[in-house]
């Protein structure tokens, strides 16, 4: 249930921008979720529907873009995606691998109506 605090932060930031822009409402919110961020989009949506009621963001649609975690094989240089389980390099079976990225949870942009 840790999505509540991050969803509150999205609302806080969106309200702040809407006020700054003197917008009548926020229509769309664009978010980027890294595979390893531990954030579940359905949970964000669930809390969002609840906490955005009676705010300038009440009708805003959340758009999620998912960013995979890439794995780089240190032995053969192959790159592949981390699906769920950590697996050896599919090209050379090495476990000498490094995870590159996938931790982000970013509020990219919002669309407002003036």
């Amino acid at each position: 249930m840790h999505e509540l605090s991050v969803t509150e932060e999205i609302l806080r930031k969106s309200e702040e921008i809407a006020e700054h822009e003197q917008a009548s409402k926020v229509t769309d919110i664009f978010l980027e979720i890294g595979k390893l961020s531990g954030i579940i989009d359905e949970s964000v949506q669930f809390y969002w529907d609840f906490i955005s009621k009676d705010t300038v963001c009440a009708e805003a649609k959340l758009h999620f873009e998912f960013v995979p975690a890439r794995i780089h094989c240190e032995d053969c240089g192959n790159e592949y995606e981390l699906d769920h389980d950590l697996i050896p390099c599919p090209a050379c079976s090495s476990m000498n691998i490094k995870i590159a990225g996938g931790d982000e949870f970013i509020l990219k942009s919002i669309e407002v109506e003036k």
């Binding site: 249930m1 840790h2 509540l4 605090s5 991050v6 932060e9 999205i10 930031k13 921008i17 822009e21 917008a23 009548s24 229509t27 390893l36 961020s37 531990g38 954030i39 981390l82 769920h84 389980d85 950590l86 697996i87 476990m95 000498n96 691998i97 490094k98 995870i99 931790d103 982000e104 949870f105 970013i106 509020l107 990219k108 942009s109 919002i110 669309e111 407002v112 109506e113 003036k114």
Partner: protein
């Protein structure tokens, strides 16, 4: 009426990270070393912690922050029982500690007279991974009965750790746990990690882990 797109690009988790950085700065100004201990429920976190504190104390002045999802004080009472200050942090059902809870929790401690703060995170292999607390070190306590495949199934929690304490090694004869396979998974996720095999029950290996920790604590003094 006109629509307008506003570019933001703000890392939402950054708010937590900023508070964590402030906590770390505060603790360093007081020359306090701190660690965040994560584990699944039942790995033996509290048992390992008690044994560790008994080794470190009284030469090292220690305190513990206990994270729990409900106001149960079983763990903090055990720590207080061996004469170490313990602060209970109730997450209110939340599955992990965050930087804000920790920054409030440490205010209840006498920071001028401490060398070391140990934070026991909520027992969970998924959520605590995403939340920095501002500690100098992240440590995972794993245990033999959990199985050797956990780094492969829950890679996130094993990332960014500086030490892995494998507990309940007294159960090795009874469980098919492939230690090299387990270690390969941990090494794939961390460039530099120290392994310790311990048994909180028999006390085996606790000294090696506690001695290493003491060296780290003294480095910051």
């Amino acid at each position: 009426m006109a629509n307008k797109r506003i570019e933001i690009v703000q890392d939402i988790l950054n708010v937590n990270d900023q508070i964590a950085a402030e906590t770390n700065k505060l603790l360093h100004s007081k020359h306090i070393f701190s660690i965040n201990i994560m584990a699944s429920p039942g790995a033996g976190k509290t048992s390992v912690i008690l044994k560790t504190l008994q080794k470190l104390s009284p030469a090292i002045s220690c305190a513990v922050l206990e994270g729990d999802t409900a106001p149960v004080t079983i763990d903090s009472e055990k720590v207080a029982g061996i004469g170490i200050p313990a602060i209970q942090i109730n997450t209110g059902g939340d599955c992990h500690l965050n930087a804000n809870l920790v920054s409030k929790g440490i205010q209840a401690l006498d920071l001028d007279n401490l060398d070391f703060i140990l934070i026991e995170n909520v027992g969970n292999l998924i959520c605590p991974a995403s939340w920095k607390l501002g500690t100098d070190m992240n440590v995972v306590i794993a245990s033999i009965p959990e199985g050797d495949d956990k780094p492969y199934k829950y890679p996130n929690i094993y990332r960014g750790i500086q030490a892995l304490v494998l507990n309940k090694i007294d159960l090795k004869p009874y469980v098919d746990f492939n230690v090299p396979f387990f270690k390969d998974g941990i090494k794939a996720l961390n460039t530099d990690v120290q392994f310790f095999e311990v048994s909180a029950k028999t006390g085996e290996g606790i000294s090696a882990w506690a001695d290493w920790l003491e060296t780290k604590i003294r480095e910051i003094k």
